[in-house]
Point group: C2
Chain length 345, copies 2
Amino acid sequence: MSGKGRPETARSGKVDMTHGGGGRAMAELIRDLFHRHLGNPILDEANDAARLGMVPGRLVMSTDGHVVAPLFFPGGDIGSLSVHGTLNDIAMTGARPLFLSAGFILEEGFPLDDLERIVISMAEAAAAAGVPVVTGDTKVVEKGKGDGVFITTTGLGVVPDGVEIGAERARPGQAILVSGSIGDHGVAILSKRENLDFETDLRSDSAALHGMVAEMVSSAPAIAVLRDPTRGGLSAALNEISRAANVGIWLDEEAIQVKPDVAAACELLGLDPLHVANEGKLLCICAADDAERLLSVMHGHPLGRDAALIGHVTDEDAPLVQMRTGFGGMRVVDWLSGEQLPRIC
Amino acid sequence: MSGKGRPETARSGKVDMTHGGGGRAMAELIRDLFHRHLGNPILDEANDAARLGMVPGRLVMSTDGHVVAPLFFPGGDIGSLSVHGTLNDIAMTGARPLFLSAGFILEEGFPLDDLERIVISMAEAAAAAGVPVVTGDTKVVEKGKGDGVFITTTGLGVVPDGVEIGAERARPGQAILVSGSIGDHGVAILSKRENLDFETDLRSDSAALHGMVAEMVSSAPAIAVLRDPTRGGLSAALNEISRAANVGIWLDEEAIQVKPDVAAACELLGLDPLHVANEGKLLCICAADDAERLLSVMHGHPLGRDAALIGHVTDEDAPLVQMRTGFGGMRVVDWLSGEQLPRIC
């Protein structure tokens, strides 16, 4: 942390146990670091709860813990990821996100410079999204009882009138769209793991999708399902949807884009890109008649330039997800027990 | 976890990395443990975001990470504490809490039986409070990168019309009330620390205060400040208020109740009860004319039976907190740099 911002009680440059103790050291950390970068009129009131005023409309709320390792990766860090991840969960209901909260669990000894870098990244992501962090909390655990920093964010948003989106609304005949290439986030993270370091220019796709979603629901309010395929990748997201709606899903492998670097890394590591996490992509399931219009809206947005129709919902073989392969065969897209590699978000 | 509730993928009886991976193992944990105990119509929809419907009125939002050690203590555990802590932060704005979210960060190897005990305790606390857990998230970190379980809860509530409560509203001449004896929670936790184990029947005061608060604001809507003196105790809470409102605060030591077990433990450990955490007590600052009425309301509620007038706000010596001691002198009630002992909540 650059001189001015460092709390007086933290001349060591590291988080210590007093920063979670509810006393002066914590108050200074909150003022000199969190408020300095994340400040906005609601957060600045600095009560234990944020006063949001009246919020007309149907509310949605979502929470997401972030434990990504490493904390900094190509295309982002835990700060920006913790904003994008929760904004996207809100957006996947069709909602406009309005407010965020952030709970930090810091490990004793974590460098304050790194913490400041993370908070600045969080502030930039929140500002770019137009969604303020209105309240927060800081706890500190002893060295060896945490891992640098964990951030749990919670978001609040409002669903536009007439929009009804949910996994259970998938119906046979609907089209399945995806907003771009898959697997970028997972492979970018893996490329920086200590034991896996490999050369790639790949960056995480971490991004806030609510702007594109707003254009999509405005163009086609009858969208049935939106889902961001994060942990477990496209495969887990589609298997969840097929189970929630008790439908079958057919995919066309050739329509699913995988960047050459992602394909090469997956080949090298023995991974299936369908199982690899994304943090800036969405799945959209809609009436077949709306597919062209929605693809055109997505193509006009920077986060959806490579959007494609990748399959459709069927009443056969529910709740299986199956894929027509490049060789013309069909295979079941299975649902792994876990992620191939942990702490991807 | 008793046979039926154990996810099929977790026959070892312990949390493993697959439980955070977004695949089948995580889905089974969520279904067999979280949904089974915390289930309610909103949570059961099982989308990534909870659909809350319309919520008229002025909203407040608060978030709190819980890292208490040990996880189980006399009078509660991290599950009930994570419900009470956030409900109380919401209640301290005068609001009625309506919804909770919960983000779990689990350490690999944590016993599923302990996790189930914690989730049941959380479910009981939420049910007793009448506030559902509507959405959640689970992450798993490797053994040695966490400490059993951390829980970050976020609450949403609505402030009744006409109620305006905040630390900055303290004014000279107002009365300071506290709802009971202080230091119970901190001493109960300390009594179970490995290195401090001492004999006491003391239990944490962990409790949800919003029911009593509802009666208080209904009886005296002009309450200026409510605050739950958690980390840093009464001292940190009053120092924060004196700074926020730029007022002086005078306390009367003889009016502040400390249980004999708490006094003895503090004596033994060299602690000042004014600095020790509470989890079921509130400070109320109100017009002197409202003090008797509010004390009577508090005395009529199980959580306020020992409520007392402990001091008043003054325009002298802002922003100092001072106390008339039992010997007739005055001393400054200082604000520690940290908590005397970490991870109290």
